[in-house]
């Protein structure tokens, strides 16, 4: 019973945070609510005896991705300041309708299939040692590929987001001292 209560609390928290993350106007609020939703999911993983995954989720999503999103929001703040037009796309109603249809499409079969209502077997957990052994034996190829992918993503992200030094410096930056000097000269004359 305590387990059920904990599940309901965490689930309500996660869903509420997810809804807030998708509907708030302030992008920073959205990002922080998303981080809270990710933390709620980590709690659910812990509740499902997947300790390692839960902590990894907390570390990657709250510690890295949420921070990344927040940084991006701050670096692209011009939008927020400039536009006061609607934040939802013109066809948002259709989108939400499709989402509701998707929900119905998934939830109905779940509710109708009795095989899914059995209780969980006795927990065996996922000890960290076993995860490590599996990663090094059976899943070593995916592991290597993820390593390559992460390195590629790191380099790619840096290259994409790097500010390209323009071949000719933009006039607004390089001409400022020159103009100031010429004005001074004029004033002196």
């Amino acid at each position: 019973m305590p387990n059920e209560i904990a599940f309901i609390l965490i689930a309500v928290f996660t869903v509420a945070c997810a809804v807030a993350a998708m509907t708030r106007r302030q992008l920073v609020h959205c990002a922080l609510f998303a981080a809270a939703a990710f933390a709620g999911l980590a709690a659910l993983y812990l509740q499902l005896d997947a300790e390692f995954v839960g902590f990894a989720q907390l570390m990657v999503y709250v510690g890295a991705i949420a921070i990344l999103i927040v940084f991006t929001v701050l670096l692209t703040r011009g939008d927020e300041v400039r536009s006061n037009r609607s934040q939802s796309s013109p066809s948002w109603l259709a989108g939400v309708a499709v989402a509701v249809l998707v929900l119905a499409g998934i939830a109905l079969p779940i509710l109708l299939s009795p095989a899914l209502w059995h209780a969980a077997p006795v927990a065996t957990g996922a000890p960290v040692k076993r995860i490590g052994e599996e990663l090094m034996n059976r899943y070593v190829l995916p592991l290597e590929m993820v390593g390559v992918l992460l390195t590629g993503a790191l380099l790619g992200a840096v290259v994409i987001a790097m500010r390209e030094e323009p071949a000719v410096k933009p006039p607004s930056r390089s001409l400022v001292p020159a103009r100031a000097e010429s004005e001074e000269v004029v004033n002196l004359r």
């Binding site: 390692f52 902590f55 990894a56 907390l58 570390m59 709250v62 510690g63 960290v128």
Partner: protein, 396 residues
């Protein structure tokens, strides 16, 4: 001696035994939480005063010495001052986030203490992935700092928060990388197992602590540097560099919320210091067998205080870095050195089977020389070429 060693555990069991049976787990949990919070709360108060007094001594002056004997009641005076101060929230601030930020900073750090082994059998929660929990929990503080800086709607706060977050993210990489060799050596993510793996002596007199291996020594130094940056200590305290940013992300905080931030900062230092003791200094292990009459928590406290004193000493000595120097230092010096350290640790663990005479000394020398060469080469080049003479556009 056994009794003194386990005095806290037996007291806890005795007190929990007084409660009715169904409530016993709850009572012992509350006892542990109360004990942790009071011990580290007192530690916080004591550290603030001792830090100020030590800093004073190192700068040729007395520290605070007016309130109580030797000024030891100064933290009480500070606390009373903080509590009765007016709590000012800026008009345009995001009130909810402004309120939440100190809590989000402080609460996870309290949680981080739950996995540290403070003595034999003295871990609040035995987690299989304890160190992962520690780092995962620690990542919440970055978000808290950002919340504080953003919700204040103040450009100094925002710049301070961005600096702090950039610094914390950058230094988390060497922090984790320098602790990975320890996990490899212990073969476990559980902090109790890591302490257990460091028991015993090598060569009959040298304790089996990680800090006495070449990779452990380098890792310990890297870990301390990264830890100082993670907890915004000097010389990495430029998120709140008062000479350029007023107080960084703390600018718009006052009263008790400010005190909470202060508390969070010190608790972060304590937590990461406790982790350093556990990972590199053998946790609660005594340095030699004949010293085991001192209780295990006593050894933890001694090592812990030594590192805290080192942090204070460094704070009294070093000036603050510049932002670009700070990030260069992390990415161009600490991270490569931590990676090389990882390789050295792998070689060290693989050569553990060497059986010829003086194998241990040869391994030590080889590892230390590789690290020393890497240190010298990286140290020469981490900051790039010598700075050009500065060119002034408007001065002169």
């Amino acid at each position: 001696m056994k009794g003194l060693d386990q005095i806290f555990i037996s007291t806890q069991h005795a007190l929990a035994g007084l409660a009715p049976a169904p409530l016993q787990p709850l009572v012992s949990m509350v006892l542990i939480i109360a004990c942790l919070m009071s011990v580290f709360g007192a530690c916080f108060a004591l550290t603030t005063i001792l830090e100020r007094k030590t800093l004073g001594r190192m700068q040729n002056r007395f520290g605070p010495n007016r309130v109580g004997p030797f000024g030891l009641l100064q933290p009480m005076a500070d606390g009373i001052k903080m509590i009765i101060k007016e709590d000012i929230v800026p008009f345009s601030a995001d009130h909810a986030l402004h309120f939440l930020a100190p809590l989000v900073l402080t609460v996870p750090i309290w949680l981080a203490f739950s996995v540290l082994p403070f003595g034999r059998n003295m871990t609040a929660v035995e987690l299989d992935a304890g160190i992962l929990f520690f780092f995962a929990i620690g990542s919440a503080s970055e978000l808290a700092v950002f919340m504080a800086g953003w919700s204040s709607q103040n450009k100094y706060s925002l710049v301070g928060a961005m600096r702090a977050v950039a610094q914390m993210i950058s230094y988390e990489v060497p922090l984790v990388l320098s602790s990975v060799p320890v996990l490899m050596a212990a073969g476990s993510l559980s902090l109790s197992d890591i302490v257990q793996a460091q028991s015993g002596c090598a060569l009959g007199w040298l304790p089996h602590w990680n800090v006495f291996t070449p990779w452990g020594l380098a890792g310990f130094a890297l870990f301390l540097i990264a830890a100082a940056a993670e907890s915004n200590r000097c010389p990495f305290d430029l998120p709140e560099g008062e000479s350029e940013l007023i107080a960084g992300y703390l600018t718009e905080y006052s009263g008790f919320k400010y005190a909470l931030f202060f508390l969070g900062e010190y608790l972060g230092l304590f937590a990461v210091t406790g982790l350093a003791v556990t990972l590199f200094l053998g946790g609660w292990q005594a340095p030699a067998a004949w010293l085991e009459w001192v209780p295990s928590w006593g050894w933890f406290a001694v090592k812990f205080s030594a590192i805290i004193f080192l942090a204070i000493w460094i704070r009294a000595t070093l000036p603050r870095l510049r932002m670009d120097q700070l990030l260069n230092f992390a990415w161009k010096f600490l991270v490569p050195l931590a990676l090389i350290n990882l390789l050295v640790a792998v070689a060290w663990l693989k050569t553990g089977t060497w059986r010829f005479p003086a194998a241990a000394e040869v391994r030590w020398l080889l590892g230390a020389s590789v690290l020393a060469i890497a240190y010298v080469c990286l140290g020469r080049h981490w900051n790039g070429p010598a700075p050009r003479p500065r060119q002034y556009s408007y001065a002169e």
